[in-house]
Symmetry: C2
Subunit: 131 residues, 2 copies
Amino acid sequence: MRYSHQRERIFRAVSERCDHPTANMVYEQLKVEMPRLSLGTVYRNLNQLADAGRLKKIPLADGSCRFDKTKESHSHIVCDECGAVSDVHLPSFESFEQAIESETGYELRTYDVVLRGVCKDCRACMDQQAG
Amino acid sequence: MRYSHQRERIFRAVSERCDHPTANMVYEQLKVEMPRLSLGTVYRNLNQLADAGRLKKIPLADGSCRFDKTKESHSHIVCDECGAVSDVHLPSFESFEQAIESETGYELRTYDVVLRGVCKDCRACMDQQAG
DNA sequence: ATAAATAACAGTAATAGTTACTATGTAGGA
DNA sequence: TCCTACATAGTAACTATTACTGTTATTTAT
């Protein structure tokens, strides 16, 4: 993978945020300073960076993808109301791996566990509306 | 929800198969006997049936959805090679629910856990190719 | 049984998120 | 410095799904 100015800016953008941005969020942020940046370039580079292990790709239930700086292994929880994505630590499936494999006949590769719920802010908002 | 011939056939189609079909798979199956059936009708009814709790919707990481007859709670494992979806029993997150909620500040609603791996058939196939 | 109201339909167009294509530009080695 | 392959910008295409529009069919009330 050859160096490119765009790729490094895209990598830095994701690394410096905590909100697990979408490709489009990265694009919107960077195009202010890089007006000629194209959305396709952002998608291509995010996927390349994920393939290279420098970022983690988080495919969500609604078909969109979020990107995360890679740190120690963790799962994510998505707010059904506002779409926010937060980190969450779950007990690993590693201890069940054997049982899962023998039950299903599958060789387990990954488990991107994505929980869903309502975040603190949206709960406050909903409570207020309910009176 | 008013009765419709189409809806009942769509419900039966999903109930009678074990492969967690997509909307399009249901459409392909039924249009042989119902040539005027439209794909939009299949989507609309699958979602209505899921909302009504008569079927379960399984959104996958690639953005597509599968539909499942509702039975006792279980999770799913998807084959990365052929896309097959199988049932798998996992220990429930219920025991961690409290910990998750206090860690994240979220109110947990659902956890559609989708594991990924390689099914028995595809493993055999890959082994053969490798020699 | 008949008519009115409305949910559901078929067919088509539109949408969102993403990937592919094409011609131009640039990194990095010879 | 020049060459080659990878990267880019800009655009078109693609997939899964939803929305729109005029017609059909189920239900409710007469």
